[in-house]
Amino acid sequence: MNTMLNMPGWIQMPSQVQGSDLPAWLEIEKQKSWEIFQKAGLPTRKHERWKYADISHLEQAQYEAPGKAQPPVSAADINSFRLPGESHLLVLVNGVYFPELSDIKRLPEGAVICSLRNAGKQYEPLLKQYMQNKNTKQHPFLNLNHALFNDGLFLYFPENCQLSAPIHLLSLTVCDKPYVLYPRHCIYLADNSRVSILEEHHSLDDQCCLVNAAADISAGCGSVLDIYKLHQQNENTNHFSNTNLIQLKDSHVSITQFTLSGRFVRDDLNVNLQFSGAYCQTAGFYKLSGENQYVDHHIDIEHAASMTKSEMMYKGIVDNKSRAVFNGRLHVHPGAQKITAQQANHNLLLSNQAEVYSKPELEIYADDVKCRHGATTGQLDQDALFYLRSRGLAYPEAVNLLLQAFSAEVIQLIKNEDIAAHIQARIGENI
């Protein structure tokens, strides 16, 4: 027995297979994931990928799984979150999909949206075809999710399925006790489909909670997928997210994350550009102002084929005693020529106790490659501040304008006007 193993009491062995309604192969995968996880336990700061992540507050805490009781969420609660324009609304409460609170009546024929458990029954061949069960020691929280997930969402878009309205995935937490949630989502786009998704995370109370989410995404040939994530959970929420994205030929995927609150937010994005023409644009904006807030973006992009393209653009405003981490890794495989890749991380520090750790990594094993990276950490431009004030803007107004301007570069990446306005408004309130 290894006594040094970092295994807090709230991590429970998965229940036995009997009575499960998941396919047998998936139960076996769960078991395998558990075995991999329990060998290493939770990461410590001795792990390179977790060097700046202090998760000691999770070790002492007590979390439990939510019961089966229906959480108290009404249609009125949901309405306040709806986008002004048309959208396909999916509501998740404590990681479980609630069709009765959702609105997917106008979904085109052939597109599938259901819970993961349902998909296991009705769409098992699709699930088996696409589902990635890639467990590595590098991603302990992913292994833990794969071992313990209860349910999640299954989204499938057939060939040439083009959604004109965005999918609005509203993920709410309602906790009467500190809960731990393990939602697992699968998003699969067949060839030439086109989808955009706004994924919002909110807490309806102040209870502390731990979300350990995972997503498998597969983008078929010529498909276009835009994902916008907005994190606005309470100051006691810990959110871990692992996304595995596989991109086929000529697929274009963008993932843009906005983190405006939360206690601890860790986002791992693993992108595999498997075939030529695949293009992935990842971006993020974070605004941290809490006593002890922490946001951490780890992005790994594999350029496994020639003529693939990637971009990372992360910007953040870090105030008070909060901390932000950016770790962007590009890996150009041998023989993968004509690669274009860009990495940027820019931070504004508003207090002298705030901290930023920025680490770009480039591993390039091909010679015909264009890669650029840049990172800056600085303070508000005093000349710009004076310029605005000399034209009559009061100090706080001038500061706000400059902070909003700093976020503009990331907001401009949002292609859907409704979503852009929605996120811009949330950032405006926050700044």
């Binding site: 431009d381 004076f386 310029y387 004030r389 000399s390 034209r391 803007l393 400059l402 301007a405």
Partner: protein, 255 residues
């Protein structure tokens, strides 16, 4: 309107050494007057302009400035703007991410609010700004760009003049607005300044060259060197300077 009395000011250089820039400036500008300050590089002209606008980084060690009888130097930059002071910058700052039109509207409404006027609504503002941008010779596309970002030197100066026309300040300082401008732009500056000239409004024009003063006829010309005003006269002084340079004034015995 504006009176500067024995103003002395220091700056700290990169090595944290104090350097005295203004060595006792005296200047009095009445309502409706246009004053020009000329002088060699490093004489303290821009420092004076920046201190009047309220830029940080200068330490006033003696003397003071009054605008309409009130102490100016204790006011924040935005309070000075609200009282009608405006500096057209020598090097206007680029502000990426801040839309020029939004900035102009926010600035105008901030100043109006401090004057207890209601904000201008979007359509009235649009009419006004489209009218004024024509006067300064910029295309409307400049309204949709970020403030000064990627503007040429001349376009930045035109944008400064646009702000002046929009805000209609009462005391206007032009800090080398003419430098780097072609003849057409110079005439535009002259036209815009002259259109604002009236009994209540005053100007302080900082320049190296007599040329701008062909378009903006000054009431008084001052020569500044080594942080002091050495000589004042009417506009013929500017012509004399153009002909003889600054050397003869610096060599003249001080009174």
């Amino acid at each position: 309107m504006l009176s500067i009395e024995n103003l002395k000011a220091d700056i700290q250089d990169e090595k944290q050494n104090k350097k005295t820039i203004l060595q006792g400036v005296n200047l009095s500008i009445k309502p409706g007057e246009v004053h020009a300050i000329m002088g060699p590089n490093g004489s303290g002209k821009s420092t004076l302009a920046n201190i009047l606008a309220g830029r940080d980084g200068y330490e006033v060690t003696a003397g003071g400035v009054k605008l309409d009888g009130q102490d100016l130097l204790s006011l924040e930059p935005e309070e000075r703007a609200a009282r009608g002071l405006f500096l057209a910058f020598q090097y206007p700052t680029e502000i990426p991410g801040v839309n020029n039109m939004y900035f102009l509207r926010t600035a105008l409404n901030s100043v109006r609010k401090q004057k207890e006027l209601p904000p201008l609504d979007a359509s009235d503002f649009l009419m006004l700004v489209k009218d004024k941008i024509k006067e300064v010779g910029l295309g409307q596309a400049f309204l949709h760009r970020a403030v000064n970002e990627g503007f040429s030197g001349g376009e930045k100066k035109r944008n400064e003049v646009l702000q002046m026309l929009m805000l209609e300040p009462r005391f206007i300082i032009l800090d080398e607005t003419d430098s780097g401008l072609d003849i057409d732009a110079l005439q535009m500056v002259g036209r815009c300044v002259n259109s604002l000239r009236n009994q209540e409004r005053s100007f302080l024009v900082v320049t190296h060259y007599q040329r701008l003063l062909d378009y903006i006829q000054p009431d008084v010309v001052h020569v500044m060197a080594d942080g002091k005003i050495l000589k004042s006269g009417d506009k013929s002084l500017a012509l004399e300077l153009e002909e003889k340079g600054y050397g003869w004034i610096e060599r003249e015995p001080q009174k």
